[in-house]
């Protein structure tokens, strides 16, 4: 368990009908770090992400999590190992209240989720912990609001609270800032920074400012391949990265 790297990929490749979306990607995510995966649109970030959480099955390559080969596991099983993801488009249960959203996650660990003969009031024992988690992400006043009625930025926060409820070892965040205004971005960035004390985080992000401030290590993808890896300061000096990410000019 004391491996230096919590998640590794070896030669990860995904082909869609003749198109190589991800090719031969080797990642090593250091335990306890915030690792960012960046790249221009169409670079294969989200595909890569879906491969890691097993929502897609790789065409070739291996994924090792905590020393265990998870390449052919089902997505729910991966989640049960403590590798939990978020989604690019905010993923909440729209017609459950914020509290119930978090409770669904808490409930999973306690094994009574097949009990169809018991009243759901047995779930009330999770309420204190759920409120705690909502407090953590600043959603106390939304506890009894249906998720569908919450503002966009708050939904992202709720999603993170739900993920935290599983007490994962590692979180994968898919563009947590997508579609947010500046104010929300700062709040979520602060939240990510805070939770990173306890969890390893791998995030896909488009917003370089956020990445610059948050991440320990950055991997740059272009056209499905790893172009470069390092800290932000180094990468900004890398001509290849500039060209790939900021665009190639001519003349």
């Amino acid at each position: 368990m004391a491996d230096e790297f919590i998640l590794e990929t070896h030669g990860l490749t995904k082909e869609f009908a003749g198109f190589l979306a991800v090719r031969d990607v080797n990642l090593k995510i250091r335990r306890g770090s915030i690792h960012a995966l960046i790249g221009p649109n169409g670079a294969g970030k989200t595909t890569c992400f879906n491969l890691l959480t097993k929502f897609l099955q790789p065409t070739a390559g291996r994924i090792v999590y905590n020393g265990k080969d998870i390449t052919s596991m089902a997505p729910a099983d991966v989640a049960r190992l403590g590798l939990v993801r978020s989604f690019q488009i905010s993923a909440v249960f729209p017609h459950l209240t914020a509290l119930e959203n978090v409770r669904v996650a808490l409930q999973r660990q306690h094994g009574d989720s097949f009990d169809f003969w018991r009243s759901k009031s047995v779930l009330d024992r999770f309420n204190p912990r759920a409120r705690e988690l909502l407090d953590d992400v600043g959603l106390s006043e939304f506890a009894d609001t249906q998720a569908v009625e919450m503002p966009y930025g708050r939904k992202r926060a709720l999603e993170i609270a739900t993920t935290l409820a599983l007490d994962p070892e590692m979180m994968l965040l898919d563009e947590p800032m997508a579609g947010m205004g500046h104010e929300d971005i700062d709040k979520i960035a602060a939240l990510i920074k805070r939770i990173s004390a306890k969890y390893t985080i791998l995030m896909v992000e488009h917003n370089l400012n956020v990445v610059a401030n948050l991440s320990d290590v950055i991997t740059v993808l272009t056209r499905g391949k790893v172009l470069a890896e390092g800290v932000y300061a180094d990468l900004t000096k890398d001509e290849r990265v500039k060209e790939a990410y900021l665009g190639a000019g001519h003349g």
Binding site: T53, F55, A74, P75, A76, D77, A79, R80, V84, R85, S86, F87, A91, V92, F93, P94, H95, L96, T97, E100, R103, V104, A105, Q107, R108, D112, S113, F114, D115, F116, W117, R118, S119, K120, V122, L123, Q146, T162, T163, L166
Partner: protein
């Protein structure tokens, strides 16, 4: 993942559950007075069996988001098993019900395991095809007596105490069984399991990413629904005193969809209302021959185009209550 109804999407808060309990007590009281009203009890008993069947069906579509077009196979299987056990083996009524319901349960495990592999339209087509397979099997196996069906089934003494050949006693036995099953369904919807099921229906990828194996929950819902449909089929044997191919035919599967749809998919009481409406319609309009089929088809069309929440769903929406 396709969610066909938004009725049940409105979470039943504490008040919702209270409303539903009040409605339940009213329903139970009304039904309990039937034998004193001069209403033909046979009609109400039949409607109760279909109401239970529709509620069980609704559990799957309304809360699991899965439209089964083959639910008649559970009704019919339980009917045949119970009928055979009563008539040929001469078992007691309670054991007959257990045998029939267990048969439907076993069938739902197998068919659920197969059909749960696909969703949406494919799920509907697969369940329909499976029920047709079951239909042909029953058409050919000797114990069902093919087109003749099993006839003249003895009703017997329930627990050795209640003479089920007395219409009033039979009525109350059916009523109690219906109410208990109804409560079980109601509890299932409002159980820890029901919560997960709702979460999966709302956002399956998210539920999976939280570590829920969605298929297992859907299968569980399928089995519960199939088993309770079986209970309805077993009870029906005591009312109709026969078991026949009609109950396994796809038209029966279509009828149950209609009952749930007209009452309100994903509402607690909708299927009961729907079942009474359709059974009454078939009874009173029988003289119109096949026009009944036409009317049923028209109701389907109207419900789908303009009335998707069903009667109870519309009423609930009007009063902003969940029923």
């Amino acid at each position: 993942m396709s969610v066909i109804t938004d009725n049940s999407a409105s979470a039943s808060s504490g008040r919702g559950v209270r409303d539903e309990m009040v409605a339940f007590v009213i329903m139970a009281a009304l039904l309990a007075t039937v034998p004193f009203t001069g209403i033909y009890p046979f009609f109400v008993m039949q409607a109760l069996c279909f109401a239970l069947f529709a509620c069980a069906f609704n559990l799957l579509i309304g809360y699991g988001g899965l439209l089964s077009f083959g639910h008649a196979m559970f009704l019919g299987t339980a009917g045949y098993f119970t009928a055979h056990a009563l008539k040929v083996w001469g078992v007691s009524p309670e054991l007959g019900i257990v045998i029939g319901t267990a048969g439907a349960c076993a069938l739902s495990v197998v068919t659920g395991w197969i059909s749960i592999r696909r969703q949406g339209i494919y799920f509907a087509m697969i369940t329909l095809a499976l029920s047709q397979l079951v239909f042909f099997v029953y058409l050919q196996t000797p114990f069902t007596h093919g087109e003749d069906g099993i006839q003249g089934i003895p009703q017997g003494m329930l627990f050795g105490l209640f003479d089920l050949s007395k219409p009033t006693i039979l009525y109350y036995v059916i009523l109690v069984a219906f109410l208990l099953a109804f409560l079980l369904i109601f509890r299932t919807i409002n159980s820890p399991f029901g919560e997960v099921l709702k979460a999966i229906r709302e956002n399956e990828p998210r539920a999976v990413s939280l570590g829920y194996k969605a298929d297992q929950y859907k299968l569980m819902a399928f089995i519960l629904s199939g088993t309770l449909s079986g209970l309805a089929g077993s009870l029906k044997v005591f009312v109709a005193q026969n078991a026949s191919l009609t109950d396994v035919h796809w038209t029966m599967s279509g009828e149950i969809v209609l009952m749930a749809l007209i009452g309100g998919l994903g509402t607690v009481f909708g299927p009961v209302v729907g079942a009474f409406i359709i059974v009454a319609m078939q009874q009173y309009l029988a003289g119109f021959g096949q026009w009944v089929t036409v009317i049923q088809g028209a109701i389907f069309v109207i419900c789908v185009l303009t009335f998707r929440r069903g009667i109870v769903g519309e009423i609930a929406a009007l009063f902003k209550r969940s029923l």
